[in-house]
Amino acid sequence: MKRPVENSGKESYNSEVLVDMEEGVVNQLLRGNLSELFNSTQLITDISGSGNNWAHGHNFYGPKYSDTIIEKVRREAEICSSLQGFFLLHSLGGGTGSGLGSYILELLHDAYPKVFRFSASLFPSTDDDVITSPYNSVLSIGSLTQHADCVFPIENQALIDILRKKGQHKCQSSEEKRNKAPFDAMNALVSSLLLNLTSSMRFEGQLNVDLNEITTNLIPYPRLHYLISSMALFTPKGKLPWHPNQHTKLVNQVFLFSDALSKDNYLIKSNPLESVYFNCAFLLRGTPCSISDVNESIVRSSQRLNMIHWNTGGFKVGVCRQPASGIPLSLVCLANNTCIRNRLLAMKHSFNMLFRKRVYIHHYTEYMDFGMFDVCSGS
């Protein structure tokens, strides 16, 4: 699990703390292509791992490493001229990412209450291969609801479907999917989402959007902070540099907005168009975009969206001039939509199926109280 600490100053430090309770993945990163970007003193590793057990990660490793974690985070935070937020990247199905990740979130909430905590959390898919993932994810959701400021749920199945649609992944059967899932390409999708989110902080634009603006605009009630995200990228065929003419510009933007709102492009399996939107943010990157075009596209798109009655004009717009490399025009859509309820209910349903029979509980009660299950499933 990696947690980069963002800074909004001019220096481009790579501020992160890498945490994993077994060394294999972290060592691979340190030996890989981007090894010079990682600071080997900012690691926390152990030998045996958490055994896909939330309680092992949260109640055993958490207190064991809490001082070390706080110390390493403090060291990174002191370098920042103006600390704006923490980004937590983890999955909810396993033991370290979910259990220790939740513990670290609580630590950060106590130590830095005024700094925003964003979490890009990998929700388990319906055919997830970790059997205890329903327990781990429900126990984490309790912590995320209470201690995170904003959560971006992501699902592996959605990422695979996006890649398949783009023609980058050809596997059809589920065994092939498990063995040959293109994790690199999937992670690249997630990282391009995070890059586009923070592009306004790093580059100039007509209408900048910082991370704190995302929280102010998209979170109407403190506990309802699960934002579904989607991306639409315009990649012209043929060689770059690309000079758009008048006619193609409007056509491209129509497609861009309708792509971003279509259910196939969301990073979680859901259909937001059938549910109610609390609000919606559109973050554009690229030069051939003027605010009046964006405005027209929003007016056109809003007719398809089911906005909540007290916020029919609830749109946030960001325009960043610097395009992503190789992609002249891209659009990220973040929405606070009630369709997340379906995913959470499905998670709770899987949880209840196991919990009713009390299977695997003994692994968890080794480290924590039985009552914790009720508390987290209630939240």
Partner: protein, 430 residues
């Protein structure tokens, strides 16, 4: 009389750059001393009398860079930035940032005011939707009212797009307007939609960006702020605009002419000509046609059915007071009586129309321009829409926790909504 301009937030800084470019583009004339300091040494560009304020540094840096290389520049010391941003949160700008940044900002402003030979007042430029421009801007203008009680303060405030630019824009707009109504002398409002419409329909720009929209708005405002001289409404043949006439003093004369009544402070700017740049060379200008075009824009009419099938055209908009600025040859003697029709003003107004003029052209040789700043009902429609939406959000208690955590409470919201409702009501009964 010198005016210190405060550029507040991203919108304010971008618009302020366009305004200074418009003020500096008056053909052949020296830069107006109301807005530019004389350059100290030879070869140095004149500096704008402006303070650039934002809670994050990117925009101020970009705006300063774009100004350099022209006929003027910003003073590199006249900037105030933090790193954190206000997050579109009015309460963060007003309560949290306001308290921490009050002293350094007021100190910077004091240095700017001391450089003025004859200080005329402050002009704050801000957008109403965001956190810094709206929230911190309202705080700064309130602080200036305390520090400089006899100075005239005007604000130029930009309405966001109605379709939604910021989700919490309705809260931010109403909280700012309520605060401004307490502390400033006049609030000049401009809507993004009307700037886009002006760019598209009359200037022929199919998809205008903020740069073009700001330029159109700034030129309209500049046509009122550039030097001019008072003239009577009925001008005799012999009167011309020269230095023996009384020069318009910014901003006190504007406040006196337009904002004499405390309940009426919302001003709207209109200007002509609105002609495509390519067509300028082929356009013939005449005062009657310019004034007619302006009247059509400022006072749209409705046809009213009366018994007997005679249809009367009745203006749907009334003004409390208007200031007309004529620029170009013959400005001193042009007939403006069509703007003085009694149906355009309420019956209790005495001398609602004020006229100033300058023979110097600002568009091209022989080109005529008319600008009008009117204390009228133009701002009421967007304000009412914002009120309706804000009430809906407020009764659902949406986003309130974001504001409450910085120290505002629900009664602050209710008071602000009530103030803006009163303003709308006062204008609607004109």
């Amino acid at each position: 009389m010198s005016v210190v301009v405060l550029q507040l937030g991203q919108g304010g800084n971008q618009y302020g750059l366009a305004l200074f470019n418009a003020l500096a583009s008056s053909r052949g004339s020296p830069l107006p001393c109301e807005f530019f300091e004389e350059s100290g040494s030879k070869g140095e560009l004149p500096r704008a009398r402006a303070l650039l304020i934002d809670m994050e540094p990117k925009v101020v840096a970009a705006v300063t860079r774009k100004a350099n290389g022209g006929a003027w520049k910003y003073d590199s010391r006249s900037c105030f930035t933090l790193d954190s941003g206000s997050g579109n949160n009015w309460a963060a700008g007003y309560c949290s940032n306001g308290a921490t940044c009050r002293e350094p900002v007021l100190e910077q402003i004091r240095l700017k005011v001391e450089k003025c030979d004859c200080f005329g007042g402050f002009l704050g430029i801000q957008s109403l939707a965001g956190g810094t421009g709206a929230g911190f801007g309202a705080y700064v203008l309130e602080a200036l009212k305390d520090e400089y009680p006899s100075a005239c303060i005007f604000s130029h405030s930009i309405w966001p797009f109605q379709s939604g630019e910021v989700v919490v824009q309705n809260y931010n707009v109403l909280l700012t307007l309520a605060k401004l109504h307490e502390v400033v002398d006049g609030i000049i409002t401009v809507e993004n939609e009307s700037l886009v419409a002006a760019c598209k329909k009359t200037l022929g720009i199919p998809s205008p960006s903020f740069v073009e929209m700001n330029s159109v708005g700034a030129h309209a405002l500049a046509s009122l702020l550039l030097p001019s001289f008072w003239r009577p409404i009925q001008a005799s043949q012999a009167s011309t605009c020269n230095s023996s006439q009384l020069r318009v003093r910014l901003l006190s004369d504007l406040a006196y002419a337009l904002c004499a009544h405390p309940a009426y402070r919302m001003l709207t700017v209109y200007s002509t000509p609105q002609v495509r740049v390519e067509s300028l060379d082929f356009t013939t200008f005449a005062w009657p046609s310019q004034l007619k075009q302006l009247k059509r824009i400022a006072y749209p009419v409705e046809l009213e059915q009366v018994p007997g099938e005679t249809r009367l055209a009745k203006s749907v908009q009334k003004s409390v007071a208007s200031l007309l600025a004529l620029r170009g040859p013959g400005a001193g003697t042009a007939d403006v009586s069509m703007m003085r029709e009694p149906s355009l003003y309420p019956s209790w107004c005495i001398d609602p129309l004020n006229v100033c003029a300058n023979d110097k052209e600002i568009i091209k040789d022989g080109g005529l321009a008319v600008g009008m700043m009117s204390n009228c009902q133009g701002a009421i429609l967007p304000a009412s829409k914002a009120l309706t939406r804000a009430y809906a959000m407020f009764y659902s208690k949406a986003y309130l926790h974001q504001y409450l955590k910085h120290g505002l409470d629900a009664s602050f919201f209710e008071a602000a909504f009530a103030t803006v409702e009163d303003v709308c009501h006062s204008y609607s009964i004109l």
